[in-house]
């Protein structure tokens, strides 16, 4: 493989440090904000019985006041994958709730981000290739407009048009009520059928950002000497556009793709609520309603971890596109 060890170690190092900070943040937040963390994490009234509350306090070391002890306990629990117990859907632990919800969110968000990046790439290129043309101006203005619209509003509008008035898509949920009885093929069909609108919403909502970034990058690349040389060589327009123009414009926007992942997940949280799509967003929403703090913390941690992992993957893919990074 063409990887340069220093680059690899550096990237994994950064990912681990970010993860560590996210975990520590997750630990510190409830303690900094509200008075007694114990009451937050194991309040009797929510669980209805004293022994359960005490058992939980012991498990999380909340009975011992020293912060470090609690922190050590918290990390130990975490390594066992035990994120505490969720109030709302007691007694199932937070980890199970998360495992059920995460695939839905990751599925929609990742497909939406990649598709939106691809479409944004194509539109951006076509716009930048002939600047000032009708196509370029119209995409530019609509991108400005789209980038200033909240995710969930687009979701509501789409439901109103496509589901309610036109009836093409379901009003929400992730699968048909009779999902379990389906054969695997119908299951897949129903999942896709339900997932289409949320993914479509996410694509439209994030498309504007990608178009603008790519168009600006390509405008800069087009003024470079090697583009002029490519034209002088009489190369076909398609080769110049993609092998020379787009490939160089892709590089800076690829790092943009990574940082936008966090933004997309943020948007997905609100979109899932509109579609009542059982992803992490929906879980977080219900957790907030029921003041279910362990679940809130758990969902935040899952989001942070998945984003960090995706970024690490993108970091590892980057040297394959940009030769300058991997080899020096």
């Amino acid at each position: 493989m063409r990887y340069n060890s220093v680059y690899l170690v550096k990237r994994i190092g950064i990912a681990l440090v970010t993860l560590y900070v996210a975990v520590t943040l997750n630990f510190l937040l409830p303690r900094l904000m509200k008075g007694d963390p114990a009451s937050a994490l194991a309040s009797e009234k929510a669980l209805g019985s004293q022994e359960v509350a005490n058992a939980l306090k012991a498990q999380f070391g909340l009975d011992n006041p020293s912060l470090w002890y609690q922190y050590a306990k918290y990390i130990k629990q975490l390594l066992h994958g035990n994120l505490g117990v969720s109030y709302a859907n007691f007694p199932s632990p937070v980890a199970d709730v998360m495992l059920k919800a995460l695939p839905w969110t990751l599925g929609t968000v990742l497909t939406a981000t990649l598709l939106s990046y691809l479409i944004g790439w194509l539109i951006g290129i076509r716009g930048a290739w002939k600047p000032g043309s009708l196509f370029d101006n119209s995409t530019l203005f609509s991108s400005f407009f789209l980038s200033s619209v909240p995710f969930f509003w687009i979701a509501i509008i789409f439901i109103m048009i496509f589901s309610f008035y036109l009836g093409w898509f379901p009003l929400g949920q992730a699968v048909d009520p009779a999902y379990d009885s389906f054969a695997w093929f119908d299951k897949a069909k129903s999942v896709l059928y339900h997932a289409f609108l949320p993914v479509f919403t996410l694509i439209i909502a994030t498309l504007a950002g990608h178009i603008l970034v790519l168009r600006n990058n390509l405008m800069r690349v087009l003024s470079e000497d090697y583009m002029l040389l490519a034209k002088a060589k009489g190369l076909r327009a398609s080769r110049r556009k993609y092998m020379y123009g787009a490939r160089n414009a892709l590089l800076p926007s690829f790092t943009g793709l990574m940082t936008s992942l966090g933004h997309v997940i943020g948007g997905a949280i609100t979109t899932e609520i509109v579609f009542s799509y059982p992803g992490v967003g929906m879980v977080t929403f219900n957790a907030i309603l029921n003041h279910d703090f362990p679940l809130i913390q758990g969902s935040f941690l899952c989001i942070a971890i998945s984003v960090i992992v995706c970024n690490l993957i993108a970091d590892l893919v980057y040297p394959l596109i940009d030769p300058r990074v991997a080899l020096n």
């Binding site: 000497d225 090697y226 009489g234 190369l235 080769r239 092998m243």
Partner: protein, 333 residues
Amino acid sequence: MSDLLQVRHLSIEYASPRGIVKAVDDVTFSIGKGEIFGLAGESGCGKSTTAFGISRLLRHPAQISGGSVVLDGQELTTLSNDEFDKLRWSKISIVLQSAMNNLNPVLKISNQLIDAILAHDPSMGKEARQRAEQLMKLVDLPVDRLDSYPHELSGGMRQRVVIAMALALRPSLVIMDEPTTALDVVVQNGIIRKIVELQKEFGFSILFITHDLPLMLEMCGRIGIMYAGKLVEVASREQILQKPRHPYTQGLLNSFPSLSGPKQRLSGIPGHTPDLIRPPAGCRFCPRCSQAIQECQTLPPPLVEDAGGQIACHLYSEEGIAREQASAACERS
């Protein structure tokens, strides 16, 4: 020596917020087959614009507003884009200033050498690689460098690759726009000697553009001097060295500190270049010209062709010469 390229009354302008800029105004010259023709002038005189006009590489606001360009008897300005693309690189190729980015940073050197060949002859396939190796040997570069990326080469090596690339399809005209300006003088010397050697071997013509007059005088057979969009003088190397006629050429020659001549104070040229949107009525060099005469303020100087080449200056036009003799006569008597 029959002419390869004839440029007649070429004019190029572009719209700027402050008005129409006449970057190139009524330029006429020709380049013989196998001749190294130099186009010299200071920044903003339109030499690069002329070259890009000839090879139809003008960037958006600039466009040809008049004149004709004939290559090998074929008029270029009226060709459609597709017809012109057939000529690109097979008849005319270009070498740009060796800035950091005249090679695509994400493509291997071999791909960039081959894709010009493939664009014109897609069936090449395997031999394209051998052609690329041939080209590298041509410019004394190690063949194993074919698989490295541009950022791994030194400035000098990158410029040699670009020169090899320009010769990939054996064009009849190679335009070189300041090819060695960004390089150190020792590396530049090596590359210039390699260009002259290749020119002798393949016999293509070169349109060499630079602001470095001494370098041009060492390399080009005939030289055209441009000032503020006008071609003021065209003459052979010896003519310009011994007896430059146009006052601007004399001023230019008097601005370069030489290494071998006596050490004396040089005067350069006072003042600065005119505004190309509203150029002065008469000769554009008049405000800075020490030998300006009456007509210079009002009348643009006609282009006079004679044994010594071309000159656009009232001192050498018919009435100018007549007046010259008259004033010389009264001085003597």
